[in-house]
Symmetry: none
Subunit: 200 residues, 4 copies
DNA sequence: GCGTAAACGAGACGGTACGTCGCGTCTTAGG
DNA sequence: CCTAAGACGCGACGTACCGTCTCGTTTACGC
């Protein structure tokens, strides 16, 4: 004799196809749980409860905590980190500020930190993290590269490594819980570009 | 019915004082477990089993997984990251290589990555991580600063930020699982110092 | 995205009427699953998979595991338990042997044991079991009653109770997993009829 | 960050030894759950909740639902089924009445029926059931055997088979949910002993 | 020199979460 | 209206660890 739920469930199957409402409810719930209770409170059970979804449904579509985390992060990725002020120095400083604001001013920061944590125990998450960080670096490198035709940087400048140092600095601050001031962002740009351009 | 162990335990109390053998056995076991089974296999139960120690003993002296992790890492810290070749450029490149070798060539890497992961859920670990990273940056800043009296860097160079970018790059590579080649280490030094010195 | 099955399904609807092929396929599959995987492996899901049928189809036509079980058992009921040798003693012994052979030599035994198990948690199944056992007893009582006009039993003999003891003995052996030898069947008849007839 | 229970648990460990309070609490809870919610509501989770015990504790000491069930039944076994009235006929009738009363008038009946059900899917439970039923038969056989020296039964009477038919009749009635009246108990004794003794 | 106190191993305990299975219901899409 | 298919909410499964607790033993130290 199976158990009959006392209250009607809020969502039902819509037939032999994935229910997008469920998908959204789970992602919303995951983001909320992560924000409110932190990484250690981020359990599949808690997400399922908050989403009024069944655990098997979550495992069916996401398969692991890391996969869920990544999709939550993807949903929250901002489209435009890279300002275009016509000055590499201002662009770099602005990007650093934008990135830190994005991480600290929304749920993106806790989510991303959770992905980094997960990546230390889970190879799939690690590869996803690596891919994401490389994407970010490429993004930044393109932004820096715009300075070459403008003469702000010499053609031989290694934009890729400069970009990686920028993302790494932001990551390190995020992970260790120290914020980055606007002034520091400016100084970082100055320091990094000192060899090529003059301080503003 | 009290349990009669079939085999005699390997260690006993030595009276009303902490047993240093137990301390060492626990730290050794923790390092071994972490290395062999990874962060997800690093549980207090596993450490206790491997150390033939009781769980309460571990909780008494370390209090949390993070504390144990930190002490394991402290034990493995290397004394000398900073070469002194007389050239800032070579020093920076050498330090990057040393640091990555230290992380990848011993159990220090997995241990440190575990601390970073733990720090994303645990404020104590986060503060410890921050303190450690700032120590590391100061260390590197001192190394870079030696170039100022030698004329390799102008007095106004922001050694602290440069140092932080170096440690951040290494950290990012460690966390995302990409190693750093000797060539990249050299290029990093070149890129960072481009404004002040000439490539070797 | 609706699923596109790689292989064409074996059966389709035949329009607005029950498909007898489906009925047979489900009953066959149920019997097979029960025989091969036992009562604990007998799940609606397993039957549906084995029959290539949808779960709702099964629920529509049978409504519960017990109902399915009962129909499987009905299909396998033997028509003729009661031998007619002209001797009550031989008839009783023969019936016991026939019944145990039927249960142990086909899928009827596991199916019936499953019904008994189901009946302990499910009132419908319990009533069905009771009805079946009373039928069986009546059957046996009629067989025994044939001895009265022949003078093997006195008119006042309680054929119903004797019949019930016979079916009960067989049931107990079935449920506890002990088989009943031919010799024991004969002894049972002797013991039961000792008061009325002489041993053969 | 592990969860701290808000309320203090009612029972704690008493050291590296089994806590008899826990044992009793689990058995009490198991009996209560089985009685109140029936076999289908008898889940390890429900027992654990009712006993305020952890599931792992139950699995550690009982290992399976069947084992728990058997221990609950053992605890409730009555010591004395077999009356001794000096008359086999009255003894048999009395025992049947006692047995049915025991099953129907306490939690022993539901518990025993659950064991029978479990035994149809679980070999361990089946062997335990078989052993229990054989014990019961031996018990009854001894009772019947007392009639031989008194001359109520001839020495060649097969007490074992008679005993088994008695227990089987009671079992069949229990399992199919039909009670056995005092009158039927008397008739059963009469029928079984008709060959040897005269009705009372 | 002897009792006390602390450290230790062991492991039981109440819990939470894990990831999986089956339940019974629902909707779709196709005959 | 029937069918196959399968998503869904739900809850139980049996397991792994968590962090706490008590036990009995062993030793150093203070009275």
């Amino acid at each position: 004799m199976p158990t009959r739920p006392v209250t009607q469930p809020s969502r039902r199957s819509i037939g032999a196809q994935r229910n997008p409402e469920t998908r959204d409810a789970v992602l919303d719930a995951a983001e909320q749980v992560l924000t409110e209770r932190g990484l250690s409170g981020f359990t599949i059970e808690a997400v399922a409860r908050a989403a009024r979804a069944g655990k098997p449904t979550i495992y069916k579509w996401w398969g692991s905590k890391a996969a869920l985390l990544l999709e939550v992060y993807d949903r929250n990725k901002i489209a435009e980190f890279h300002p275009n002020t016509g000055s590499v120095r201002r662009d770099v400083a602005g990007l650093l500020v934008n990135l830190m604001d994005h991480w600290e001013g929304s749920s993106a920061g806790p989510v991303f930190r959770s992905i980094v944590a997960e990546a230390q125990a889970n190879a799939d998450a690690r590869h996803a993290l690596d891919a994401y960080l490389q994407d970010l670096s490429r993004y930044i490198a393109l932004m820096i590269g715009r300075g070459i035709p403008r003469g702000e940087l010499p053609p031989e400048a290694d934009c890729t490594l400069m970009a990686e140092m920028i993302s790494a600095l932001a990551l390190q601050r995020l992970l260790s819980g120290r914020s980055l001031s606007v002034k520091e962002a400016g100084l970082t740009a100055d320091t990094l570009l000192a060899g090529f351009t003059q301080p503003a």
